[in-house]
């Protein structure tokens, strides 16, 4: 090693470290975001080869135009009822997030993560998938559970790790799991779920089943090796799976450029693997629906995986542990050029004559009641108490489910623990 070697004819190198367009104190800058007109990109046949989606990897599938009209070949032509359900689900998610965020601030639990601005990505996908298609989510797709009708009170029980928590208080808040609702256990370890989804989809194919899988991963997490494994295996075995990259521009304090987002789109990763890719306006619920449906149709027809970049923006801090004003302009969220998914669907329904302010107000109130009611019910099961021996779960449960059956050493430890607790309480 040396930089003093004799190389007079060679210029000095330097390291490039990507920087976001604006830091705190600077003016938000989204001039780099190209927004193609809604309806402007064609919709290939689902049987089309991967190459026919190359242009889709650099554009944006958009359906709802500035005037609130659904336009172009990707318009999924949904019934007003379904649109209203989606609007409702997104509103539930947003109110739920607000309340649980506040509950954490009130010391009722240890942690919370919102999905504000990204509600369409889960809710519209759930609408486009079959109920028994299997979802492998990250921590920002709580909308899947809401849309599939999982009880809010169950979600809250989990968040509070209380005695109603079906996960026995074992998981960090928001790491839901529910088999019946096709919602795979969220892992704290980023990206691990994506190749698992591929494996699940392969299993479905092996068994001649008809169910497909869908996975979600954040922009930042695409850098993990798991993402590469997922794309490789999904392509090679033509797994019936939808791989969603939720590009919300940030990974905690790192902007998407640290994951390679300044070099090309995340959808373009698909080109590298020879699988179809779509880049979608993630704040346009109809576009999300349409892209998911297209990918699902491909998967169901045994045509293999699709990679979808959901282009969106994380409106709030990463989690309750994070203050985003430390690394991005305070008003950056307000400047996101693709609007808010709830507002956009609301506008669309309004333009269709299927919605109005009164109905929205009524909905808001109804949801408020529901969420409050659920919270009350959940809190009756207890909230997290960080400095107490009055555990919500029997300590014996701590040793269960490590294995199907308790081996001797866990039995011994269980007995020790029971004794310890008795001593502690004494």
């Amino acid at each position: 090693m040396s930089n003093d070697s004799e190389r007079p004819n060679r210029p000095a190198l330097s390291l490039h470290v990507p920087e976001p367009p604006a830091r705190p104190g600077e003016k938000p800058d989204f001039s780099w975001v190209q927004v193609p007109a809604a309806g402007s990109i064609r919709r290939p046949d689902v049987t089309a080869p991967a190459q026919e989606t190359h242009e889709h990897c650099y554009s944006l599938v958009r359906v709802i135009d500035e005037a609130g009209q659904a336009v172009g070949p990707w318009d999924p032509r949904l019934s007003p009822d379904l649109l209203r359900k989606m609007l409702r689900d997104m509103n539930v998610v947003r109110q739920f997030d607000e309340r649980m965020f506040r509950a954490q601030r009130q010391g009722k639990t240890s942690f919370y993560m919102k999905s504000k601005g990204e509600e369409a990505i889960a809710v519209a996908a759930a609408a486009a998938l079959d109920f028994d298609d299997m979802c492998f989510p990250t921590y920002r797709q709580q909308g899947l559970l809401v849309a599939r009708g999982y009880p809010l009170v169950e979600m809250m029980n989990q968040i509070y790790s209380n005695k109603g928590d079906k996960l026995q208080g074992r998981q960090l808040p928001i790491m839901y799991s529910d088999r019946k609702h096709g919602f795979f256990s969220i892992s704290g370890n980023l990206a691990t779920q994506v190749p698992q989804a591929v494996g699940w989809a392969m299993a479905s194919a092996i068994k001649g089943d008809s169910r497909i899988a869908a996975a979600w991963i954040g922009d930042g997490s695409t850098a993990e090796g798991d993402f590469h494994a997922a794309c490789t295996f999904a392509g090679v075995y033509r797994a019936p799976v939808i791989l969603n990259v939720v590009n919300n521009q940030w990974a905690i304090s790192s902007f998407s450029g640290i994951a390679g987002g300044q070099l090309t789109t995340f959808a373009a990763r698909a080109i590298g693997y020879g699988i179809p890719g779509l880049r979608v306006d993630g704040n346009d619920p109809l576009a999300v629906y349409a892209a998911t449906q297209w990918a699902a149709d491909r998967a169901r027809a045994n045509l293999g995986p699709t990679l979808i970049e959901m282009f969106t923006y994380r409106k709030e801090g990463h989690s309750t542990s994070d203050d985003p004003t430390g690394y991005r302009p305070k008003d950056e969220p307000d400047n996101w050029p693709l609007g808010d998914p709830i507002e956009r669907l609301r506008q669309h329904l309004t333009v269709l004559g299927e919605w109005d302010d009164d109905r929205q107000a009524a909905l808001d109130a109804e949801i408020d009641g529901e969420v409050r009611g659920a919270q009350k019910e959940a809190e009756a099961n207890g909230v997290l108490r960080a400095a107490s021996l009055d555990f919500p779960q029997d300590v014996r449960t701590m040793f269960e489910d490590v294995y199907a059956e308790l081996p001797w050493h866990l039995k011994e430890q269980q007995a020790e623990m029971v004794a310890e607790l008795e001593a502690k309480k004494a």
Binding site: Q196, G199, A203, G225, V402
Partner: protein, 337 residues
């Protein structure tokens, strides 16, 4: 009953289980068409088709992850890692996922998968074809770790592992695939054919996970070993003229503590043997357990005879390998005082 070497016995276990259970699938690098570089999965693809037996991309991470996904679906994947030395790229999926999914979902999902991998040295494979990483998995709650030492056990334990509803790391001591190598590298190895444990029943049978086997009874000293080292221990004890009790652990998690305790309480002396590096190896756990549970019966410290705390060197293979002399020295130490 057919005489089989370990490869044949393991192959047979696959055949038996794939016939019994449609949900058993096999994947791994070169494991499909070719049947694996050690041929443990030979003929399976031909018989059961490519959608149940297939080659995988060279991504141990992807192999583990997709197998986990398959297992959560309800399949029972048997995934081969070509050499244990190459299991690390898949470590996160094993440790953070396979081992914890049952726990974190309160049993809603579980991962009935087997991770098979040839392991251990003695074949001049250098530092990346010789490792014994069992201790790394023994430390991870949620995994079972099984290491057979002969064809009979190999088949019966693999069948148990496939039927087990928890993830099982199944290490196959490659040095004894073809014969019970006893550590005397300068003598010819007897093939399995001459060994009673190569009499392998046809069809289905199990050897239970978590049960050790007293391979040889003896009053003087308890030797705890597994895999290749069982044979080395037997030969070394014989060479040293010690009437030792040799226990083949077969499973290291959960370890068969009863058999261990009973033996050590009888002999009062214990040597723990493994090929892996010493520091924080599984021998440490065994020594800790034995002294915790048999302290007042012990007449000497528990002695460890292991590989050195170095990578596995190529030309010095037989200096690294814990052979009869190292074991003999350990026996002597345990019998002192």
């Amino acid at each position: 009953m057919t005489v089989r070497n370990m490869i044949q016995a393991l192959n047979d276990a696959h055949h038996v289980m794939m016939e019994r259970d449609d949900n058993v699938v096999v994947l791994g690098e070169d494991a499909g068409y070719f049947g694996g570089v050690f041929r443990v999965t030979e003929h399976l693809q031909k018989k059961f088709g490519t959608s149940r037996v297939f080659d995988a991309p060279i991504s141990e991470n992807g192999i583990m992850a997709t197998a986990i996904g398959m297992a959560t679906y309800g399949l029972r994947p048997v995934a081969e890692i070509q050499f244990a030395d190459y299991i690390y790229p898949g470590f996160d999926q094993i440790v953070s996922e396979a081992a914890k999914i049952r726990y974190r979902t309160a049993g809603e999902w579980f991962v009935p998968m087997v991770i098979r991998s040839p392991y251990g040295g003695g074949i001049f494979g250098g530092q990346t074809h010789s490792q014994s990483p069992e201790a790394l998995f023994a430390h991870v709650a949620g995994l079972k770790v099984v290491i057979p030492s002969n064809p009979y056990d190999a088949k019966g334990l693999l069948i148990s592992a496939i039927e087990d509803d928890d993830p099982v790391v199944f290490f196959e001591p490659k040095r004894i695939y073809n014969g019970p190598f006893d550590g005397f590298f300068d003598r010819p190895v007897t093939p399995w054919a001459k060994h009673p444990d190569a009499e392998v029943p046809d069809g289905y049978y199990t050897v239970p996970i978590g049960k050790a086997r007293v391979v040889k009874e003896g009053p003087e000293l308890t030797i705890l070993a597994y895999g290749t080292m069982v044979h080395v221990a037997l030969a070394a004890a014989e060479a040293a003229g010690i009437d030792a009790e040799v226990i083949d652990l077969r499973t290291i998690v959960p370890v068969d503590i009863e058999t261990i305790e009973e033996s050590v309480k009888k002999t009062g002396r214990c040597v723990v043997v493994h090929e892996a590096t010493r520091t924080s190896g599984f021998g440490a756990e065994l020594a800790a357990l034995v002294q915790e549970r048999c302290f007042y019966h012990l007449e000497a410290p528990v002695v460890r005879a292991t590989g050195w705390d170095t990578p596995y060197p190529h030309s010095l293979e037989w200096a690294y390998f814990p052979g009869p002399i190292r074991l003999g020295n350990a026996f002597k130490k345990a019998l002192e005082d």
